[in-house]
């Protein structure tokens, strides 16, 4: 099991380094169209061939990982923060406060988020850069993803609030921020980390789903999700395995996160 985790860590570090070094190792810009050679097979110039518009698939994969590996953890951080805030408040205060917070969480869980995302994306200003559109997509995912986590954190906080050491701390005069900082947060750390690690692959896949609907990151900027759109068509059922490299990378990245997550869960 330790070796599996090691492989997962190595894979994630390798993916992160490759994405970070994209401008150095990519054979071309992600948007550059080699119009003389669309749908080209892998070659020395294009290690994974070119896509339907003649863009280097390897370059797009590296830049796509960049977007997904940076934005998804940021969105996960946002969603975990929101979950900690609302779940923590609900767990600490209980009563009406808890009912209000959990009603809000139920409301968010009941919202058909796909339609909400489509509507919000359609209402955004049109002249935004592809980078801004990517940020907005992940921001929306981050803002909508906290509800389930907040329930877990609320339950964890409530349990802690009933524990002996918290009673002791309160009897000793600890209250408010000090109680949260010294007793609640350290004990919720495992739960928060688990929620964070759950959210990262969820957001990568959510963006991939939006990308498959054409509503993810704007052209010409690639993401792992937008790269998967190449495989939507019947026409991709060709004996060309290099076309499937983006999905292999996505599976490896998500699986690696899941392997690490199991470790966090054990700790939690």
């Amino acid at each position: 099991m330790k070796s599996v985790r090691l492989i997962a860590v190595v894979l994630l570090i390798a993916a992160g380094l490759a994405a970070a070094a994209a401008p150095l190792i990519a054979p071309a810009g992600y948007e550059q169209q080699f119009r003389a050679t669309p749908d080209a097979r892998p070659s020395a110039h294009h290690p994974l061939g070119t896509d339907e518009l003649g863009r280097d698939r390897f370059a797009r994969l590296l830049y796509g990982m960049r977007i997904s590996l940076i934005m998804a953890p940021l969105a996960a951080l946002l969603t975990t923060g929101l979950a900690a805030l609302l779940g923590g408040i609900a767990g600490c205060f209980g009563g009406w406060t808890e009912r209000c917070c959990m009603f809000l969480a139920d409301l968010v869980l009941a919202v058909p988020w796909l339609f909400l995302l489509i509507t919000v994306r359609a209402a955004l200003p049109l002249n935004v850069s592809p980078e801004a559109s990517a940020a907005v997509t992940f921001l929306l995912l981050g803002l909508l993803g906290w509800a389930a986590s907040s329930r877990v954190i609320c339950a964890g906080t409530k349990s802690l609030m009933q524990s002996e050491f918290v009673w002791t701390a309160r009897a000793a005069g600890f209250s408010g921020f000090k109680l949260v900082r010294l007793h609640l947060l350290p004990n919720l750390r495992g739960t928060l980390l688990a929620q964070f690690w759950i959210s990262v692959p969820v957001f990568i896949i959510a963006e991939a789903n939006l990308g498959a609907l054409g509503l993810g990151v704007s052209e010409p900027l690639p993401s792992l999700g937008s790269l998967l759109r190449e495989m939507q068509s019947f026409a991709t059922l060709r004996p060309e395995p290099w076309r499937f490299f983006p999905i292999v990378v996505l599976i490896l990245v998500v699986t690696s996160f899941q392997v690490l997550l199991k470790k966090q869960e054990v700790r939690a």
Binding site: Q33, T119, A122, L126, N127, E219, P220, Q232, S233, F234
Partner: protein, 527 residues
């Protein structure tokens, strides 16, 4: 001769299968307003004249002769004798008169009826004899005869009402969301050259399949016999598997076009509207777009650079003096400079005379990968003249709201599927008062001189019965549109079809329905 020979080899009978994209909204032939319903009407409806999709000419069907008179206000049809509906009810001139009266009911909102309402007053149908009927219109109707290709004659006496069919098939069974089964009309009037009763097929099964990729897979597995329209990528895939599975029926009249929002009430900055209303700007953008690359890359070569409103495949109405807009970046830059635009020293940023960087967004529907690819290629092309383009895809309803209601967009890419070859069918797109005058719709008076000129010419062609005079007016409209480019026409797609080896007598056409247009002559080979 060829048909006769093939027919002899073919099996009489059998069930032909193909797919329609969704559940037909209405099986009443007079209430058709969606493609699947249109397909059912085509296969079941009997019409007075049928436009031959290959020759592009009207041919006798239930009417054996017709005569247009009074400058296009009156048409008299001589009807075929001894014809019966699928349930045995006799067909007569009463049915034609009844159909016209039903069709003109304003509550139906029938597009053919709208074309018949050419002026103030009623459309009247009068029975002259059991085999002769006269229809009188309040004002001349241009392209009158071809309009009857879409008028399925319903029975005034049959207990089945509009479900009694005069076409080659009738609706025999229907499983909502799954399939529609059409069976051979035993009373169909048409016979082949050897005197054999048509249609050859016993039945047509229309499976409802929304996903074109699944449709292609089912075709590949032999579950369906044909596909009326396949996209270029699927065509290439099928062709790579077996070249005999697909055919390129040549350039269609379908177009993809880019246009800029010139609507005065739109919430876009005034300086941007000034760019979009500038002919030089639009011409420059047009010249900077490499249409050959669009056709070669996005459509895998199964498209050709568009010239204008009317495609060259529309043999009669195309203005052959017009040539494709050249791909010429230097000329585009010259036009922009003459209009006050300046390119930065490093060639990366174009600015207008007030110093604004030229940047705009192109919206298109997220469900179309092809349009997104077109937009992405245009994005790269326009970068060469310093214009920054943001490509925005959105769901179709949001897009329609922007282009039809809020006018909150800058440029848009959409396509036209031109069904009717006659210029009258695009009146509402080219009259400045039209709702589909996309770049600046519903104008109270024409915003520009050239739009006023187009209005005049469109009305002139619509009110003339002389096709050659109409052609002259339409040629001028095409030329003005070519010069002004309110729509920047990009490509004319080829009609790509899939026809299984067992289907005989198919003569695919570039016009809809591409393969099944001669359904009564299609046959299945003996196994």
């Amino acid at each position: 001769m060829v048909l006769g020979c093939c027919a002899a080899l073919a099996q009489t009978g059998g069930e032909l299968r193909f797919c329609i994209r969704s559940e037909p909204k209405n099986l009443n032939p007079m209430m058709v307003n969606d493609d699947p319903s249109e397909t059912i009407r085509y296969l079941t409806g009997g019409v007075l004249v049928r436009v031959n999709r290959v020759r592009q000419k009207a041919e006798a069907s239930l009417a054996t002769q017709w005569k247009v008179s009074d400058g296009g206000r009156r048409i008299v049809f001589k009807l075929r004798e001894g014809v019966r509906y699928s349930d045995g009810t006799p067909f007569s001139a009463d049915d034609v008169a009844y159909t016209v009266r039903q069709l003109m009911d304003p509550a139906l909102h029938n597009s053919t009826a709208d074309a018949f309402r050419s002026g103030e007053g009623a459309v009247t149908a009068r029975v002259l004899s059991p085999t002769s009927v006269e229809i009188v219109f309040p004002a001349p109707v241009a392209g009158l005869v071809n309009l009857f290709d879409t008028v399925a004659i319903v029975s005034s006496k049959s207990p089945l009402k509009e479900m009694a069919a005069l076409g080659p098939f009738y609706v025999a069974d229907r499983k909502p969301g799954s399939m529609i089964l059409l069976k051979r009309n035993p009373n169909y009037w048409k016979k082949d050259a050897q005197g054999r009763q048509l249609p050859y097929l016993d039945a047509v099964r229309l499976d409802i399949e929304q996903n074109p990729d699944i449709e292609a897979l089912r075709y590949r597995r032999g579950e369906i016999h044909l596909i009326n329209s396949v996209n270029a990528a699927v065509f290439e895939k099928l062709s790579a598997d077996d070249a005999s599975l697909v055919r390129d029926a040549g350039a269609s009249t379908d177009t993809e076009q880019l246009w800029f929002n010139q609507t005065p009430s739109s919430p876009i900055p005034a300086y941007k509207r000034a760019w979009f209303t500038s002919t030089a700007f639009r011409r420059a953008v047009s010249e900077a777009i490499n249409r050959d690359d669009l056709a070669r890359i996005v459509y895998h070569g199964h498209a050709q650079p568009a010239i204008g409103i009317t495609a060259p495949s529309n043999l009669f109405w195309f203005n052959s003096e017009l040539k494709p807009h050249p791909y010429d970046v230097a000329s585009a830059l010259r036009r922009l400079q003459q209009d006050g635009f300046r390119l930065s020293a490093d060639g990366t940023v174009l600015r207008d005379k007030e110093g604004h960087e030229v940047e705009f967004s192109i919206i298109t529907n997220a469900s179309s990968r092809i349009r997104e690819n077109i937009a992405t290629m245009i994005q790269q092309d326009l970068k060469k003249i310093g214009i920054k383009v943001n490509v925005v895809t959105m769901d179709f309803n949001s897009l329609l709201e922007r282009i039809n209601q809020t006018y909150n967009y800058e440029a848009c890419i959409l396509g036209n599927g031109n069904v009717d070859l006659d210029p009258n069918s695009v009146m509402t797109a080219w009259l400045s008062s039209g709702e589909l005058h996309a770049w600046n719709p519903k104008q109270k008076s024409p915003a520009t001189e050239w739009e006023a000129e187009i209005d005049k010419l469109m009305r002139a062609q619509a009110s003339s019965m002389d096709d050659h005079k109409r052609k002259q007016s339409w040629d001028k409209v095409q030329k003005i549109a070519w010069e002004q480019e309110p729509f920047i026409f990009l490509v004319n797609k080829h009609a790509l079809v899939a026809i299984g080896p067992s289907v005989k007598n198919a003569q695919p056409s570039a016009f809809r329905p591409q393969v099944s247009w001669n359904i009564d002559e299609l046959a299945l080979a003996v196994k």
